[in-house]
Amino acid sequence: MLDQVFVLLKHWLLGYSPVVLQPAVSILLTILPILLVFPVLFALTTVLERKGLGRIQNRYGPNRVGFFGILQPMADAVKSLTKEDIVPASADHTVHFLAPLILLAVAFLPYAVLPIGRNMIAADLDAGVLFFFAIGAISELSVFMAGWSSRNKYSLLGAMRAVAQMISYEVPLLLSSVAVIMAAGSLSTVVIVEKQSGFSGIFPHWYVLTPWGFAGFILFMIAATAETNRSPFDLPEGESEIIAGYYIEYSGFKFALFFLGEYLGMFAISGLGITLFLGGWTAPLPFLTWVPSWIWFFAKLLGLIIGFIWVRGTLPRLRMDQLMNFAWKFMLPMALVVVVSAGAWRFLGQGVTRWLVSLVFIAVAYVLLARGVETRNRIAKRTYRFAE
């Protein structure tokens, strides 16, 4: 009953609207929670991140505004709304104005295919996962628009690096999802979650608890960190590297829109990772199924967000060539091996054989690739080249 409270609420409210307007009201009632919940989550995440990073770095985070700094987003909102909106004189005004708008529109769209709870999905598309990736690919163009329209060398450089990074890491992201799609047999997110909803003894049927699923989940999360330009892959937007990358020339509200877009992208891709690997809205243990499904989804989302913040506070930033090498020379072959391993899992029968086979595939590939990546960059004796 508590599980379906939002669905029942929507049907009850729908009963109060005139019959002619019912399709439009239904769509509105489906979209409105998404538009309200995720920006509020964004506000909470900014506080969580700053306090979390502060604690990792042995300092307090913001603690002036409100009880333990919880009202900090309000202060940030007031600041960003009242700051002067400076646009450089030589900037391309149309493209400069459109870039944050397109980024925001494209950041909200993927939430339509994430199943937040049982029967709680905005659009049950037949090709849901493909929709998610298509929309994610469009956001690269808006990043480029932002960087190019500012007519600033650093901005353009940051934008090109960001786009190159996003394109490079899209391939392992897609390949690790292909492994899940192959195991589930469908591109629809609802079907993928339903395939993970059984229990064998005490263990759920989540894909992360299989050898290929575990490796695929790790690859997916690394690629997701790179796709959303989060540290340690935030070279295009690091403050100490390139000032602020492709949003240098944005101030005030447009900068806040970029920030919002980036965090929304982070939540969306975490949501997809949860749907594909962590079982979506299903409970982890059989005796916990009385907890509502949407609480499980948000709990897993919170766990992944904390993981992102933790990684940001711990690992140093990757250099551009290290980043590209990692994507093309390690993650892409590893993702291909995960696909093969998932295929072996799917087509061998139940039993110990398929565990062993898929584990052997992944372990051997990992050792070989890690060895290969390591030996190339051996530190050599310094040589000097003089001008002749």
Partner: protein
Amino acid sequence: MSLMSATFFILAAITLVGACAAMMLRGLVHCALAVAIAFAGLGTLYLNLGAQFLGLAQLLVYVGAIAVLIVFVILLTRGGDSDSPPLSRAALPITGLLVAACIFAVLAWAVFHSFAVHSAVPLAAPATVRELGTVLMADYVLPLEVIGLMLTAALIGAAIIAMREKQATQ
């Protein structure tokens, strides 16, 4: 039915405006962004016609990859720096536009004199991804393998053609 036509007109208008802008604007990056709009409009047209997989594949490949590739190459070849007029001089632009207009006239005549204007109510055409996958693996497996080979060849070929030659000065 009328709602479908309204969305179809809007999407078709966006696509055509994007395509015309791509062929007429001065700045190269503006042209590239306009053609990205045209591709996106086409992708949504496919979605409107019920081809889910094809529409999303169009958005993913054309807007997400080909448009970005075009933009990269424009920036790598210092596009937009030259201040020469966008169209060639002398008689060439008129000839080109005339040829295009003639071809459009012929195609429009062919459309209006074909069965297309007399066909009845369109039937629903379901195409789940599962059916598509079955057909691809059963009937069209040879083209599938050939296109895999071709894409590999294109990848290697493009990388080799665009590779900077190694400087032999030490």
